[in-house]
Amino acid sequence: MGNDKKQNDSLNEQPDQPKEEQPPSLIDKIQQLGQTNVPQLSQDSKIHCLTIVGQIEGHLQLPPQNKTTKYEHLIPQIVAIEQNPKIEGLLVILNTVGGDVEAGLAISEMLASLSKPTVSIVLGGGHSIGVPIAVSCSYSFIAETATMTIHPIRLTGLVIGVPQTFEYLDKMQDRVINFVTKHSNISEECFKDLMFAKGNLTRDIGTNVVGTDAVKYGLIDNVGGIGPALKKLEELIENNKQGNEGIVQ
């Protein structure tokens, strides 16, 4: 019993001691008073911007000296853009040489299924798998000097061994063609003609489409840069807002 009492006393004493010491120790711990540098949340932009530059990286990781766009980076960002109610529109800036077909199609499908207005601008180049990404947005722009190379799907370094491999490649190509014709005003015949044209790319098959020609073929909606693109995006956001309000009422 005596021991118990002692223990109780010591237990009672222990919380008392820090209580007396707490006020000075807390003040001692404070080194600086003021606000922390939190990124300015109030200045959050209602338009977000995705830049698709360099190569579109697929399953094979490219060495760090290559400029690449990784789909594992882009796709979570697209998900975040879709979920964040503060973000009203998305601007996609393309300057890509192309890359992995499946990664490119994945990004294209994500952009196409986004419920918010999207506008793409092709600056410099939007080649090969950059074409479906450019057309996936609600409205697309191309700079006057920008180009887009349309060519059949290729495999580097691998030799087609069996007819099935060729059939698989052919099906993959159909996926690209279907996507592009579904999301732009170009007809399947016209797109295939450009894809299999001879003599445009020296000894290769395909076509290099320059700014105004891309609009002429119906692949891209308009020629323009950042100014017209942002104006169009604002317009689409306004239309989207009005549409949503209509549903609520």
Binding site: H48, C49, L62, P63, P64
Partner: protein
Amino acid sequence: MILYTSMPHELVFPTDAAEFSKQKVVTYNGIPLLVEMDGGQDCTVVRVMSSDPTHFMDDKYTPGTKITLA
């Protein structure tokens, strides 16, 4: 030596695995950044990975600036 092959360069001469670990994506003050590790906790900003255009206006995270990861 001239090597005639249809194999891609990166398949013939694979990059050292250590090269890949030099660069990584970190979230610094809520901003995703692609950084190159300089050794220890110090790193250099290579690219701003954010989709928010205001993050690109912040001169604390412009490519080339050195940051210390806490």
